[in-house]
């Protein structure tokens, strides 16, 4: 049992030595206590009011009041949070507990915490407690009791004593006689709590503040506990194990008002505020606005919100895939250009990187969208390149082919690639005939796939005016539309990210050992061969983690598509929130979507990283 003692002699000598420093210290301490008191009363007061509100159940015409939570549920929620923190602070539950479960002393405290929560729950469920006084006392007092017992740190000894008394009752009296002093404070705290809880009304008649102003009572108790334990802890600085537990318990004690406030506030909001209605039923109803997407057009009048969400996800994934591919290619080109001996191209690379790395993405996207929108010809001009590709400020129309044929031709190319890899299974054939035969295979395969693609003809977009007299009734038939926002978001993301990728490429190439490049030169490789066979394979090792980060940034930056009015998942969900105001479930959905995307990108890049770093350097 620790009691704080005040050293009067030492205090006097301290004051005599340096009065100004003592005054400064004292002022600082008084200020801290004042701020602490303000914080405690503020949050405890709000928690107390909310606790009274959610314990009260006024039944009108058979319906419970809206904000009523049965006391058992309250105990489970808040007690559960306290139990989690309890277990974290005790730090006993480690993963090797299953190896020797017989050593109960190591994890007895956590078990006692669970048992304590069970007892609280049983009390709450079965005993009739008055909702305005005893229910808040149970919750707030129980939380404070948990913190108090934690910082006393006697629960371990108490639990072991109890278990030993139960195991061999004959020796229990001696055991208790020996060590009653160590556990007396915790036992008395528990007993005091239970007594006051049951007799709250009686005690409240004598000391009204206990039942009416519980927030102030508990604030005072918290303050006293904190200060006394701070005084003790400052003398205990040489026992690290105890110090750690006390620090965590002190942090827990100080954050009790905040935890209570957040728990009660969120419990209240879940019942009263419609934006906090966490259920995704509204996603099954009809969305009622229009978006553009491909391949599966959502029906404006029949599509549910889940369909729209899924269409948004597909839109975002398309943009991200194309942007990642393009930005890597451009980034590698610019990065290598920046490092070349050719003065002009290194200047060009430097200017490109310096200009686009420091520009905000929103600004870049907006500038691109406005410029593209204003420089492309209007529909009226009927501007087309060789009568096949139609350019207008409402979209670019290219000739479309049958998607099935597209799929078949890509499948053919994939099969040819697999076939060439099978041919190279014993090693890359670098001889003249090998290169020539591979060249022939690929030329033949490309010609065949193009032939398949165009076998059924292609659909050239044609533009005509439906009603010649009225303005603006242009109609484009056939063809495949690439909308302007799509082009803008891809251009913006690509330009922005390629500058960063160029820097990453430059950094990783410069960190290569110079000997590798000199060996490549001495072997007689041309610069391009050096790049392809020596530099890039080794630079990939250091590039891949940084590129992983940048690809996740591309995925997250695609949420800026709302700047160019591109219908990606964020934009669609934002429109849903603006329409029906169910903010919390919609944003949970958005966060989950972005987290899944980041995890997928990270997993793929980690697989590639393992492939690239297979050889230990």
């Amino acid at each position: 049992m620790q009691t704080p003692s005040i050293d009067i002699q030492g205090l006097k000598s301290n004051i005599a030595k340096d009065p100004s420093r003592f005054a400064k210290n004292a002022l600082f301490q008084i200020l801290t206590v004042a701020i602490l008191w303000k914080y405690l009363t503020l949050f405890m007061g709000m928690s107390y009011d909310m606790s009274k509100q959610i314990s009260l159940n006024i039944v009108i015409a058979g319906n419970s009041s809206q904000t009523y939570y049965p006391l058992g549920d309250q105990v489970l929620v808040i007690g559960g949070i306290c139990l989690i923190f309890f277990a974290l602070i005790q730090n006993e539950v480690k993963f090797d507990i299953l190896r020797n479960p017989r050593d109960y002393r190591s994890y007895i405290t956590t078990i006692s915490g669970v048992i304590g929560l069970a007892i609280f729950w049983l009390i709450a469920e079965n005993v009739e407690l008055s909702p305005r006084t005893q229910a808040p006392f149970l919750i707030i007092g129980g939380t404070f009791l948990t913190g108090f017992l934690l910082i006393q740190d006697e629960l371990g000894k108490l639990s072991i004593l109890l278990v030993q008394s139960v195991a061999n009752p004959r020796n229990s009296v001696e055991l208790w006689k020996k060590s009653w002093q160590e556990v007396i404070i915790s036992i008395s705290a528990i007993l005091l709590f239970i007594t006051v809880l049951y007799n709250l009304s009686m005690i409240g008649a004598y000391i009204p503040s206990i039942s009416r102003e519980q927030d102030k009572v508990f604030s005072i108790l918290l303050l006293v506990t904190t200060i006394s334990w701070l005084l003790v802890m400052s003398k205990e600085a040489d026992r690290p194990a105890v110090v750690y537990k006390r620090h965590s318990s002190m942090a827990f004690l100080l954050s009790i008002p905040l935890i209570l406030f957040l728990a009660f506030r969120i419990m209240l909001l879940l019942r009263t505020d419609p934006t906090w209605d966490v259920s995704w039923d509204f996603m099954d109803s009809i969305a009622g606005f229009s978006i553009t997407n491909w391949p599966n057009q959502v029906n404006t009048s029949l599509g549910t919100r889940w369909d729209f969400h899924w269409a948004g996800v597909i839109n975002a994934v398309r943009v991200v895939l194309i942007s990642i591919f393009l930005c890597t290619v451009i980034g590698i080109i610019v990065g290598v250009m920046r490092l070349s001996n050719h003065r002009l191209s290194s200047l060009f690379g430097t200017v490109y990187v310096e200009v686009f790395r420091n520009m905000p993405l929103a600004l870049l996207l907006f500038t691109i969208s406005i410029t593209v929108g204003n420089t492309l010809p209007v529909m009226q001009d009927e501007f087309s390149i060789a009568n096949t590709v139609l350019l207008s400020n409402q979209g670019i129309f290219i000739p479309s082919v049958d998607p099935f044929l597209l799929f078949v031709s890509l499948l053919l190319l994939a099969l040819v690639k697999a076939y060439t890899r099978y041919l190279d299974r014993d090693g890359f054939d670098d001889s003249e005939e090998g290169v020539r035969s591979r060249f022939k295979i690929w030329v033949g395969a490309s010609a065949a796939s193009v032939a398949i693609l165009l076998s059924r003809g292609w659909d050239v977009p044609t533009i005509w005016k439906r009603i010649p007299e009225s303005p603006g009734s242009w109609v484009v038939e056939g063809g495949f539309e690439i909308t302007l926002p799509f082009i803008c978001i891809i251009a913006g993301l690509t330009i922005y990210t390629s500058a960063i990728v160029a820097e990453i490429v430059r950094g990783s190439i410069q960190s290569l050992p110079r000997g590798q490049i000199e060996a490549g030169i001495s072997l007689g490789l041309s610069p391009f061969q050096r790049l392809r066979l020596v530099i890039i394979p080794q630079a990939l090792r250091s590039m891949v983690p940084a590129l992983n980060n940048q690809y996740m940034n591309v995925w997250k930056n695609s949420s800026l598509a709302m700047v160019v009015a591109y219908n990606d998942v964020f934009y669609i969900n934002l429109v849903i929130v603006n329409k029906i105001g169910k903010a919390v479930p919609t944003f949970i959905l958005i966060l989950i979507t972005y987290q899944i995307g980041s995890l997928v990108i990270s997993a793929l890049m980690n697989m590639y990283n393992r492939r690239v770093t297979r050889v230990q350097i």
Binding site: N358, P360, L363, G507, Q510, N549, S559, F587, Y594
Partner: protein, 508 residues
């Protein structure tokens, strides 16, 4: 014959230099070029390109049809002619000197880049010099910096001029920055040149008489006063640095940092005094944060996020690395949760959901909530970087500190943190630059920062309807300048800390 030619003739040396320069761009010349006839090739290339460039000059001059002032036309045509000279000389030297016989890639690369430069740079300079109408910027020069609320006081005499809220902050900031520069190894002349240029640019911007809709005298006086005070602060701190030992200079730097934090709070208090003071009559009613606008709201956002984010990131980084699961689990959960979403999502969550949670005890304005969001977001990213740096602190340092009797807090603050910040400074600065660029996103919440204003400027006046690009380019230039300055400062700090390794891959 070659020994007869005077080697030191300036023309010959110029031609030799040109030949070397050309080789860097177009590659090695073919075999029919040797030392004796090299100057013939170079001089013929130069003469022909000059003729073609002069031809381009006159062609461009004839094709300009816009009624702009003469000097702008001349400037644009000169630039185009110079670029044409460069492009043509590259082409001709490739043809005459036959560099394509020696290597395939160099001449192609040189040609592509030279002609790309011709088209891109002449197009950009056409836009900047001739095609653009910068009137929209001159007419709204105050709005872009001050936001719409304060700007009405500046240009409209019926409204109160509230720029007095911003001048003290500017003066204090200038004094602090100049004193900080004085403690570094910047030379007097270097500082004078840069500072003088900045001051001259500001005076020109405020004074330029085209479309002047306010009285610039007061502004110019205040700017000059600021410049004088900044120069005095620089000289004083330079004197102090030269005379004193390093620990005193470090003390001065820490005092400057603390006073910077105070300046920030003074700036906020001037703009929007707390209600307690307004009710008692000590201060006038301020501008509510939602109405702040222009460039200074971006600066306030990034300054607040910098300070708060750094503090929070230290807590999160140490929390995540702690052995106690009570600190490590919540820190890990917070960091991973916040890093999973894009910035826009968190901004909208701060707009829609956060007020419900904190309204009982603090009715926060949009700008305050944005500052909170930026701080937490930046803190999580910096905490990740800092965690990597903390892992690389040599274990012996920590053990030595513990053996010396330092408490755990002192070990963390005085041993681990400085070492970690030293090694991870480039990554942290790049995160800050990213955060600075993200402050433009506040327009989505309705705050009219410089990006939002530059978007709506074309719609404010009938004559500016076409000039949609000029304000955007102005805003982009300003963001670009600040980001560049930040990265140059970080390079300088890295050099002074001895951290520069040529070719470290930065985060962004």
């Amino acid at each position: 014959m070659i020994s007869d030619m005077p080697q030191t003739s300036p023309v010959m040396r110029a031609l030799k230099w040109y030949a070397g320069f050309d080789e860097g761009i177009t590659g090695k010349p073919a075999k029919w070029v040797n030392d004796s006839n090299e100057h013939l090739f170079s001089s013929s290339v130069i003469l022909l390109s000059l003729l073609l460039a002069i031809n381009t000059y006159f062609t461009e001059m004839d094709s300009l049809y816009l009624e702009v002032s003469q000097w702008k036309n001349v400037l644009y045509c000169l630039i185009t002619a110079f670029l044409a000279f460069f492009a043509w000389s590259t082409t001709l030297s490739v043809i005459f000197k036959g560099t394509f016989t020696q290597s395939k890639s160099a001449p192609i690369l040189g040609l592509i880049v030279a002609w790309a430069m011709y088209f891109i740079v002449s197009g950009v300079s056409y836009f900047v010099i001739v095609g653009a109408e910068w009137e929209v910027i001159w007419a709204n020069r105050a709005t872009l910096f001050l936001g719409i609320e304060i700007n009405t006081g500046v240009v409209n005499p019926d409204f109160e001029n509230q720029t007095w809220r911003l001048w003290p902050s500017l003066i204090l900031t200038t004094i602090i920055i100049c004193s900080a520069i004085g403690t570094t190894s910047e030379t007097n002349r270097g500082f004078a040149v840069k500072f003088g240029l900045i001051w001259a640019a500001c005076i020109f911007y405020v004074w330029y008489p085209v479309r002047l809709n306010y009285n610039p005298d007061g502004v110019m006086q205040n700017l000059t006063l600021t410049a004088l005070l900044g120069a005095v602060a620089f000289l004083l701190s330079r004197r102090y640095t030269e005379k004193s030992e390093e620990f005193l200079v470090n003390k001065l730097r820490s005092y400057l940092a603390v006073s910077a934090v105070f300046t920030f709070f003074i700036a906020i208090a001037l703009l929007d005094p707390p209600d307690a003071l307004v009710e008692r009559g000590y201060a006038e009613k301020g501008i509510e944060p939602f109405l702040w606008g222009g460039l200074y709201v971006n600066l306030i956002l990034i300054a607040a996020s910098l300070v708060l984010g750094s503090a929070l990131s230290v807590l999160l980084a140490f929390g995540r690395r702690s052995e106690l699961p009570f600190f490590s689990w919540p820190s890990t959960i917070i960091i991973e949760f916040i890093r999973s979403g894009p910035m826009v999502a968190w901004l909208f969550i701060a707009l829609f959901i956060l007020p419900d949670v904190i309204r009982p005890f603090y009715d926060a304005d949009v700008v305050v909530r944005t500052i909170m969001t930026f701080s937490i977001f930046g803190a999580c990213y910096i905490a990740e970087v800092l965690r990597g740096g903390l892992q690389n602190v040599p274990r012996g340092q920590i053990e030595a500190a513990v053996a010396l009797g330092l408490s755990p807090t002192q070990v963390k603050l005085f041993v681990e943190l400085p070492a970690a910040v030293r090694t991870t400074l480039p990554a942290i600065v790049s995160i800050f630059i990213g955060l600075w660029k993200d402050t433009t996103l506040v327009y989505l919440l309705g705050v009219l920062d410089v990006f939002a204003i530059s978007k709506i400027l074309p719609a404010t006046d009938f004559q500016f309807g076409d000039d949609y690009l000029e304000p955007l380019i102005f805003a982009a230039t300003f963001f670009w300048v600040v980001a560049l300055v930040l990265s140059r400062i970080s390079l300088k700090v890295e050099k002074s800390l001895g951290l520069v390794k040529e070719g470290g891959a930065e985060a962004t």
